[in-house]
Symmetry: C2
Subunit: 703 residues, 2 copies
């Protein structure tokens, strides 16, 4: 069904004395120059519309122990070709994606060792991707990376939207500052205690990193197709403004076990002078391998509710069934233990959520705290902490399977691991089989706390392989995966679209801890979401947790902004995260969550400035329905929404869910208005967004 | 079927002000004093026949991070009881084993923390065992051991039979020296390169450790029932002659993740003034839990040959099927690759060994190199290196299953892991299922090279749990396990008798590298073998490897001594390790290997001095057959063999396999004589043992 247009425009075999090569993007805006410098070190530089984006920057490796595989190279081959194809994502922001690029391939040989190293550059209209390739060769078979030495030499002290580099977490607050200010600010940011936390000793930031130059260029750095390789951070030289790759090591300091006949991930540089182009870019997806699941028809968008937010509200609900301290999974007989009286995942409570899901047209119900082991937690460093096949006594798996089936609702399995990954890998097959036996076809995985094996970090090569293995193994069982606390995504959901979403950034749960800044969700789509869909779990209507009696936290958005997030935070998996009682109080606002689509024919990035505002419209896949989300940071704003994406000459009804007149995130978050009006492709809507507010619009044909 | 005699002789509840307690062994030879010293630190001391064995020695823990859980204790409870029971091992040196001991239980509370710690001492006629118990308590739930602080304060500079402490290997040469000489000698010993090697920074030796005092006491230190705990080494203070526990850490320095309601392994001190009693001791087995396999009738002794030694001889035979370097398990299609022409584990060659086994009455054939992956090895640090379910193209699993079955011979599976344990654990169930599907009921496992997970050492808690998990999982499949390069055994084969043998010391394979000293096998039964059976793989008839053209190594025993090892090195799993061609050259000597039993009604330790000589006789289980093995070190010796263990008044034929007149391990190893004579229980045989020689005797009723 896929349509491939494959053009090889030119194929050169170049003389060996050649030391530089230039390619341009198909539209001519980008120019990339590859050069071997005087030391025989490979370098590249990049311009956009004549402006320098990346100055001549070095490439290469330090190989364990201490061998410089980064100089004295000669070029042995060089090839340029153009490729222009179209492919269809299984689920996505677009029905079709065009992959049009010019490619430069360079084969290198290091003179003193005869070791071979290849480079492949692909220049698209939205930016550059390049990777290292380790060809099979007699002199180099297996090696350990001490460090990858890829540089990104910037032109100045750009404004950056950043998180501190940390091998174990991507859940810090997002910061906006000049690169020169990162050093002082990151101390403050890193002082927030998180369940697993290993900030880099060296000054460094995470990818995806967005920067904005003084002359208005937006530069996005990340990686694509992270497979059998460590996640990359970026060292920051804040005097010369040089970023350089900083691979996540294991605790022995080793950054990658490599066998030749393999490649690094792609290093990606998305650039535009229009912030909306960063949101629209498909470069990272284009650099991933095509779908490896032969028949992906079982992979479906999923809108869900669940037994989850109640654990964060400060109410009495607990994941744990008992207060007993001597739990040994496989030995403890829970039927002999006393329930603590406020265990969330009990059969009746789950049935109530199934009823609610059925009544309101949700696909599924997530249940956390259903399984044995929640009396302990990650702080105990316990390897055998959960069973993923044995439910608590008050959670009747078979009855809930039957009941959910009778209501045409799916249950979503939860596999918290507390990062006891060795044990999870031992049990994964039986856990997935247990799911299939009981009607589950999606799992939310969790990696709270430090990793076991204790040599490993969340972002290291070993864990990258683990997350990928989970996705691949789950695919064998036709199971969709929604991973939390995993390494940030790099577009691998193109290859394994059953890896339907990830958290991998500060999600809504943090609103119940120390909060997310009102600009948080105006940055994430530019950074974290470029790697893939995020299970942000929006939809909190009751943002004042003091109503539950145990906490004082307040959600940092208006209610209308919570609705808008369903459009601005792309994901084919979306939760309506609040308690069902809160939705029942606001059935008119809830209607938008019930209506909004999760999979799209097209997306229109109407307005965007990172840290300030985003307005996106999307056309539901295969339907004459459009949904718009507009959000702002802590500042009030008017969203100017140009509906010219609508088919000309047709009339539609727009239902506009907007902030109330005096709404604001911190003083009056629950004030909203809902109004309907007729619109056409010529309509320009102006919608007022409150401080920390937003607006959501559904557009349907006039009946 | 087991007969238990269970006596509780006395049960005291003691007043809290009591700070010391004394118990004696049932025969009165041992006295053990427990005392809380002035700092409230628990201590113990031990005497044997009035001589001090262990001076007052401290007990306790350092808890992470830095908390001293070793002082300010008060006694809250104390109990003494006697126990006298008899149990039957599934396989063993004795048909029945008596467990007769006096037990002292002490409950302690640390004053400032209210943390609880219990101690349990058991004093047998062959020595002392004691352990820590961590009772369930509200103030302490999970903790990390920074170090166990058990002391063994010796009375002087004893002669020691030792190996350097090393977290990753127990395959060093055995050394004999005074304790004060260990420091200088261990540098030399540790300079031998081994596949995985992590000698302790601090001066320390391994257990089992045998010592001999100036006044003729033999003291054996080890541990029993190593479960969910790190293997113990012993720090050596060589000025005060204090040994102290040194638990194997992980690479982060953590030495044990403990949840309360658990215990440490037993620390064992076997003592006698007669070396033979050390060999005869069953203390370590007695301190292990009874068999946990409900019906162990499928666990059977096994005498085997195999495709193995040929890989060590220097001949062309290789484990690997190809010379190709780009192997990726699960991706590489071996059927497309060219065989290197000298792959050992090919179907015809294995059939020849099956024929040989059938002809000579062996139970099984071990085949190494049968499976995909041997092109790579541990030095590449590769996690996914082998398949344990896919054979090389020239190894026809189904045909060999059929063929072996038709000859009534079993095949022994081989699972080399190169210590890629994470991958082995992922695959263990399918690997065991594959075995069962193809008629295998025993597996030899291997752990060459550094451990993956890379935080772990061979002897650490995580790996201890792994080895035990393999035994327990294998039991579910009714599979027997013979582990190589695992942590040294601690009697756990009583609990899981399907863990039929281990290597876990320098085995015969080292004879093909740098050799074993002629006294090697006169020490091992005193040290390594006290923990459990050893798969030493004796039976090398052609000890001069230069005959194969690739090596110059020579086996350091006479041929007759190779025969004696089948009796002196107890194991219900015994290999005839040499090539079948070599057995065919010496059919008369080979007859002893064919005849010798593997499981025993009783064992008689006739003569013994560690490092010098051992003579053992054993009665075959359920048969009127006895076998005797006598070995010596590099010195010639006459073995005086008192046959009074034979039933009185009956006449037997003894077949004596002895060294030839001019035999010696280094000049004339293959000279042997075989003679038969009539014997009775009154016979005293004198058999000359050549330098590095030995003798083997089979005794059967006169027909």
């Amino acid at each position: 069904m896929k349509k491939f247009i494959f053009l090889i425009c030119c194929l050169f075999l170049l003389p060996h004395f050649l030391t530089a090569q230039t390619i341009t993007s198909p539209d001519g805006n980008f120019q990339m120059v590859f050069r071997l410098n005087e030391e025989g070190t490979p370098t590249y530089s990049l311009t956009y519309k004549g402006k320098t984006v990346i100055q001549e920057s070095r490439l290469g490796f330090l190989i364990k122990s201490g061998y410089a595989f980064d100089h004295n190279f000669m070029i042995t081959d060089s090839q340029i070709r153009e490729s222009d194809t179209i492919w269809k994502p299984v689920l996505g922001e677009y029905r079709e994606i065009r992959d049009h690029h010019n490619e430069l391939f360079i084969a290198l040989k290091q003179e003193q060792t005869d070791w071979l190293l290849n480079l492949r550059f692909r220049l698209f209209n939205d930016g550059l991707g390049f990777r290292y390739e380790f060809p099979i060769q007699s002199g180099l078979r297996h090696f350990v990376i001490e460090e990858e030495e890829t540089e990104f030499r910037l032109t100045g002290d750009h404004l950056a939207f950043w998180q501190p580099a940390d091998y174990d977490t991507n859940e810090y607050e997002l910061s906006t500052s000049k690169l020169s200010e990162v050093k002082d600010l990151r101390e403050v940011v890193c002082s927030e205690p998180l369940a697993a936390q290993s900030p880099t000793e060296r000054l460094a930031v995470q990818t995806p990193l967005l920067m904005k130059t003084k002359d208005g260029l937006y530069i996005h750095l990340h990686e694509a197709s992270l497979v059998n390789y460590a996640g990359m951070h970026l060292n920051l030289d804040d005097s010369q403004f040089i970023l350089s790759s900083h691979l996540t090591p294991d605790r022995n300091g080793d950054r990658g076990y490599i066998q030749t006949n393999s490649t690094s991930p792609w290093r990606t540089i998305i650039v535009s002078d229009d912030a909306r182009d960063i949101l629209a870019s498909t470069l990272i997806l284009n650099l991933n391998e095509p779908c490896k699941i032969e028949d992906p028809s079982w992979i479906k968008p999923c809108k869900y509710v669940g037994v989850w937010w109640e654990y964060f509200t400060g109410g009495p609900s607990t994941w744990a069934y008992t207060d007993y301290q001597d739990i040994r999974i496989g030995e403890t007989d829970y039927s002999q233990l006393k329930c603590n009286g406020h265990h969330g995942a009990n059969t009746q409570h789950v049935k109530d959520y199934i009823d609610f899901a059925a009544k309101h047209g949700f696909d599924a119900v997530l249940v956390e705290g259903w399984n044995e082991g929640w009396e302990d937690n990650w702080a105990y460093h316990k390897e055998v902490i959960y069973s993923w096949t044995r439910a608590y006594p008050d959670f009747d798996v078979e009855e809930l399977h039957r009941y959910a089936q009778s209501k045409n609702v799916k249950l979503i399995m939860h596999h918290e691991t507390t990062s006891a990954v060795t044990e999870y890998e031992r049990r994964m097959h039986e856990a997935f089989q247990f799911m299939k036996d009981n009607g589950y076809d999606a799992v939310k995985t969790g990696y709270v706390g430090p990793i076991i094996p204790r040599s490993e970090y969340h972002d290291g090569q070993w864990m990258v392989n683990h997350y990928n293995r989970v996705a691949e193994t789950a695919a064998q069982y036709q199971i969709m995966v929604d991973s939390h606390e995993a390494v940030r995504p790099t577009g691998y959901s193109r290859t394994y679209p059953n890896w339907i979403a990830q958290e991998s950034a500060r999600g809504t749960e943090f609103e119940s801890f120390r909060g997310n800044h009102p600009d948080h969700t105006t940055i994430l789509p530019f950074t974290r979401l470029k790697g893939g869909p995020m299970d942000y779990t929006p939809g909190i209507f009751e943002g004042d947790l003091s109503v539950y009696g145990g906490k004082t936290a307040k959600v940092s958005t208006t209610l209308a902004k919570q609705l808008a997030l369903y459009v601005t935070m792309y994901s084919p998996l979306q939760m309506a995260a609040d308690l069902k009682e809160n939705y029942e109080k606001y059935p008119d606002a809830f209607q938008f969550i019930k209506d909004v689509a999760l999979d799209w024919d097209n997306s229109y990035f109407l307005e965007a400035e990172p840290g300030d505002y985003i307005t996106i419209a999307r056309k539901a896949k295969g339907k004459d329905e459009w949904f718009v989300g507009a959000i702002t940071d802590e500042k009030a704003r008017t969203a100017n929404i140009d509906l010219s994406f609508l088919p000309a000459g047709k009339r539609y009804v727009a239902t506009i869910y907007a902030d109330g007149r005096n709404a604001s995130w911190n003083k009056n978050p629950k004030s909203y208005t809902i109004r309907s009006r007729k619109v056409t492709s010529k309509t320009r809507l102006q919608v007022a967004l409150a401080p920390g507010g937003g607006a959501a619009i559904s557009i349907r044909p006039v009946k």
